[in-house]
């Protein structure tokens, strides 16, 4: 999409299984310091764990301002103006950089990578880094006790006539 280079932080095995927002935030914070980043942009909430924590934790670890649930972002010198999607409507804030932003669905319409950029991307460097190289401890502070699947949806029944339907509903005590 036009980035100059990438960094792949390799996490595997048990560390990968127990990786959560706290660990990712620590990695992000360490990288931000190392690369002297001015802006960190993250998703607001992942669909696997629904945590909505990584952006906020990263900002806290770095002591940076945060603009979360951003549906509009504009840079203005050393500041960023962020319009946030909140329950009550839209909130506009101005924060200093460096800052952490988390993206809301309405931030933009995703584009496809163009062929020229795909071809150039093949030649761009992706550095491989281990969390230990960044001085990050990935030990989880959480113990997952249980994961239950939602109850199986029971199969329905087909009826031929409206009378049948009423009879079945009476049987089930619904009418």
């Amino acid at each position: 999409m036009g980035a100059d280079r990438g960094i792949h932080v390799e996490v595997s095995g048990k560390d990968y299984e127990s990786l959560g927002p706290l660990q990712v935030s620590k990695i992000m914070a360490a990288l931000a310091k190392k690369e002297e980043a001015q802006l960190i942009i993250l998703g607001k909430q992942a669909i696997d764990d629904d945590c909505n924590q990584t952006g906020q934790m990263t900002a806290a670890l770095l002591d940076w301002p945060q603009g979360t649930f951003a549906s509009e972002v504009s840079l203005d010198g050393d500041n960023v103006k962020v319009v946030r999607e909140i329950d009550g409507g839209l909130e506009t804030i101005r924060i200093n950089t460096p800052a952490v932003l988390t993206a809301d669905l309405r931030l933009n319409t995703p584009r496809y990578a163009t062929l020229p950029n795909i071809m150039k991307a093949k030649k761009k460097k992706i550095a491989n880094v281990k969390p230990a190289d960044l001085g990050v401890d990935l030990t989880s502070r959480l113990e997952v006790l249980r994961v239950d699947e939602p109850p199986q949806r029971q199969a329905g029944m087909k009826v031929e006539t409206v009378e049948d339907l009423v009879a079945k509903l009476k049987d089930a005590g619904k009418v």
């Binding site: 999409m1 036009g2 980035a3 100059d4 280079r5 584009r111 163009t114 062929l115 020229p116 950029n117 795909i118 071809m119 150039k120 093949k122 030649k123 460097k125």
Partner: protein
Amino acid sequence: MLRCYRHVKGFLKPLAETSRRRRTSAPCLSEDHIRRFISENTEVVVGRSLTPEIQLKLFTPNCRFWTERPELWPFTDPYWAIYWPGGQALSRYILDNPGVCRGRAVLDLGSGCGASSIAAKLCYAAHVVASDLDPVSAVVTRLNCELNNVEPPVCVTDDMIGSDPAGFDLILLGDMFYDEALANRLYRWLDRCIKTHCTKVLIGDPGRALFEGHDIRKLLHHVAQYELPESVREENYGLISSHVWCYQS
């Protein structure tokens, strides 16, 4: 004249349809086959670049391979199918400064679609050699020369980097600093060319991170800057302008 191209990955559909047996051995493809394949898979693009006066057969969003799976492309990566912003700036500079090429022996290194060679020809260069490792680039360059009514340059597929460039007054490099290993080889070789033959080197680059951070950058002087048209910016996210640099002793 039949030319054989053995640098083929996968298989070429029309060829496979005519002979199943040939799929198992390296197919030998004629220039005509390749010309037809190129014409079927590119569009003639006029305008939408820094050099609207040069027509080129390129990939556009209307072409199959703009969105097709890359592994189905039967040749090496088609760098010639894109008019790279670095090459655009270089060609623009040549056309705007015809004295640069007039009467000179010019080497277009990494010629791709051949645009810079065409620009040099249009400015009455005495002799133009278009060099590209990809043999399909040579076919495309000849096609593009026909489109623009210029005599084709001499097309070579040998790796010129490292060779002795005696006989060239000017070396053109359009958007060649996108790979670190290649950039380092170019740097060492160009340095020798300049020191031993006083060759002039013109480099077109849109400000790629690798180029901006490379040692060679410190030895160049800036000769031109062009703002990229909107269509080029859309196809090359992150690039806004393209520049021409001169490397001279």
